[in-house]
Amino acid sequence: MIIYGTALLAACHLLGLFLGDLLGSLIGVKSNVGGVGIAMLLLIFARLYLHKRGLLPQETEQGVAFWGAMYIPVVVAMAATQNVVAALRGGPVAVLGALGAVVVCGCVIALLNRGGSQQAWQPEAETPQDPLA
């Protein structure tokens, strides 16, 4: 049943957020501490456990996979509800923050990839590819 998958997801979601709240109050932060991350870990472990016992038919998986696939659309909807007018007043912060992060990470990537001894792949063979396909 598809609803079992969605219910499993809901259980992990609620338990994770609850544990996040609990962790927050334990360390004296007035906020949820990593609730979403904890929920993700719970779901990964639940999946491993159930998969091993063969308790995870494909229909159940679909109940979770649907919501995973809805993640970009939900983010699009979230973007449409943000206070963009206010954000644009702080323009340079976003541009400089993003640019700085990309440049710093790019340099570290180059550094790490030059450090290790490794074989470079041959350039990809010519494959006819229609960009409009």
Partner: protein, 253 residues
Amino acid sequence: MQMLEKVLAHNGLVTAFLLVGIITWLSARLSRRLTLGRVHGSAIAILIGLGLAYYGGVLTGKQSGLADISLFSGIGLMGGAMLRDFAIVATAFEVQVTEARKAGLIGACSLLLGTVLPFIVGASIAHAFGYRDVVSMTTIGAGAITYIVGPVTGAALGASSDVMALSIATGLLKAIMVMVGTPFAAGFLGLNNPRSAMVFGGLAGTVSGVSAGLAATDRRLVPYGALVATFHTGLGCLLGPSALYLATKAIMT
């Protein structure tokens, strides 16, 4: 016409599904026609979303973007905290633990660096531009990790809506820069084998940025980069409102 408006307004969430579907379809076409697939469709869709939020904000003078227009109030539910967190948790289902082990130590190291370094850059720049309180600095710094980590962190810490929007804008700009810039910087980055793709996936972050950037470079590298990058948002959501927030707080006070 009035009857149609009434139907749309009374079925807010369903209207939101339709609207986002149309936006996604439109952006997929724009991605293919205008940018030859180089800028990922989802990035364009998010840009359109932000544009609509701007329109809504200008039209109503309120804070919730398009959701303040009563016809589109359902978009507030669809993009609200509940469904957003629900969908993000669901993506963890696709993480393959055995595959992840193969990514190994170097992937984990770059993942950690890719979370901490952008955070430091983002939080420092936020501080330099006058966002001196710990919650705003953390939220903008988290936005420099990915555009998901920013709002998740901000929501957990209770950041204001304009700081959240700023942090999403930072993450979005980063994703777009990665998508567009990767094919051009591939030589400099040493991006020519699976291991380097894993390093790239960990450090560059955002799944959409990494997968689109690698696809435009050498599509055989995509799974390696994406495998590490799928952990990026999860790790950021775990560390952002906890370790990184506490570290920022400790430094600032």
